[in-house]
Symmetry: C2
Subunit: 252 residues, 2 copies
């Protein structure tokens, strides 16, 4: 049985708690949050606390709190030489106080407390200083049915940055498409199968090979017609930059 103390009660901690509970070889022996209210509803199934001085012994302490608060909380932990990890894509491993064995257990996915998710599809990016700690975190990831990946201190921030592109920026592209269709009273719903298919395609072929359309073909006539249709200067900027980007990639 791997004993875990979970720290934090946000999106990630809540999802982790739920999947840890289901895993046969994992026990959440305690759940900490600075305010108890957020986890009070779980008090009948797990030991809860808002006092770092009451923390009990465990194989690993998983800090899933806001990036900026990781350092201070790790320092405030009243013990040393135990494995303490955070779940952030961008905080440094060294943000954890050096009195601990340090690591990162970064689930590369977008979590909202109230949106269910098949956790077995979540890739876990692991960074540690000791091989032994890597093995333990790997076992935890695998116990959840996840694929695990060993990453280094340069790869994790790169993955986090790339995640902002494929998640936030892609979502904003959807938003602009929503604005464009709404303007003409056309239904955004009509675009949803295309959104799904575009994401599905790159599960199998590279985005390079998956590309099609006027920019790749350098179809000046269609591009010109599109720019004429766009009456929002900001949408035009995005259109122009993404068209340039595609041309650059495909050597036009």
């Amino acid at each position: 049985m791997i004993k875990i103390v979970l720290l934090g009660a946000g999106n990630v901690a809540t999802h982790l708690y739920k999947v840890f509970k289901e895993a046969s070889n994992i026990e959440v022996v305690q759940w900490y949050n600075r305010n108890l209210k957020a986890i009070e509803m779980y008090k009948n199934e797990v030991d809860i606390t808002d006092d770092v001085n009451a923390l009990i012994e465990a194989d690993v302490y998983i800090i899933a709190i806001s990036d900026d608060a990781i350092e201070a909380l790790s320092t405030s932990l009243p013990f040393e030489n135990r494995l303490v990890v955070h779940t952030s894509g961008s905080a440094r491993l060294y943000d954890i106080d050096q009195k601990h064995y340090r690591g990162v257990f970064y689930p590369l996915q977008t979590f909202s407390k109230d949106v269910d998710l098949d956790f077995t599809t979540v890739p876990i990016c692991i960074e540690t200083l000791r091989k032994k700690d890597f093995k333990l975190l790997e076992t935890i990831g695998e116990s959840l049915g996840c694929k695990t990946f060993k990453v280094n201190p340069k790869q994790r921030p790169a993955l986090h940055l790339a995640a902002v592109f494929v998640n936030n920026f892609t979502n904003q592209i959807y938003r602009i498409a929503h604005e464009i269709t709404e303007k003409q009273g056309a239904e955004f719903d009509i675009l949803k199968p295309l959104i799904a298919e575009t994401a599905r395609k790159v599960q199998e072929v590279s985005p390079y090979l998956a590309q099609t359309g006027p920019a790749k073909r350098n179809d000046k006539k269609t591009i010109k017609r599109h720019l004429k249709l766009l009456d929002n200067p900001h949408h035009e900027d995005v259109y122009n930059l993404m068209t340039e980007s595609i041309k650059k990639t495909h050597g036009r």
Copy 2:
């Protein structure tokens, strides 16, 4: 039985042929292409031709050829007062010679000849001049199991433009993410579940509500760190513009 003559042998025509063949109330009575080679393999199951003067009678002639060639081919058809439609998102209905009854049967999806697709998920955007023609095209779409949508001459180009955003531009965002991860020797595969989840989320909630991340939070520290990581000026431009775009949308 609805009798269809199909013209063209590219991505769309090939997909249409295959699904028409399966539909119980549709018969492809003839398949035309300017070069026979592309459709020769089907000659045992359908009448094929490369001669517009050999075209036989049908309820509708579906022209699925390159946008630029639609006008000339429609003019060259040696008959009049029959329903002739094209499948383009951007060509005008009026690109079809006025000697015909004119219409558009635009399947809003991305097609590649060799990529299979569940056609029942494809939305069909229909534009006609006569109500009667709309009904017929609607019946054809429904016979394929598709949702059909009546669109007007302003909505269809807007949808096509929005499709370029959610398909080509999104795909280019994936490509940049690929470049960023590759640079650090990290696997692009790790991003695939996030790509899938991002597309899945907007099937249910609007892109506005689905948005998260540093730009929406106006988290200057993370944005600064990301910009420092990006050593490709073009990636920086995309990062800056998309970050601005999100801030604009979310009132930052």
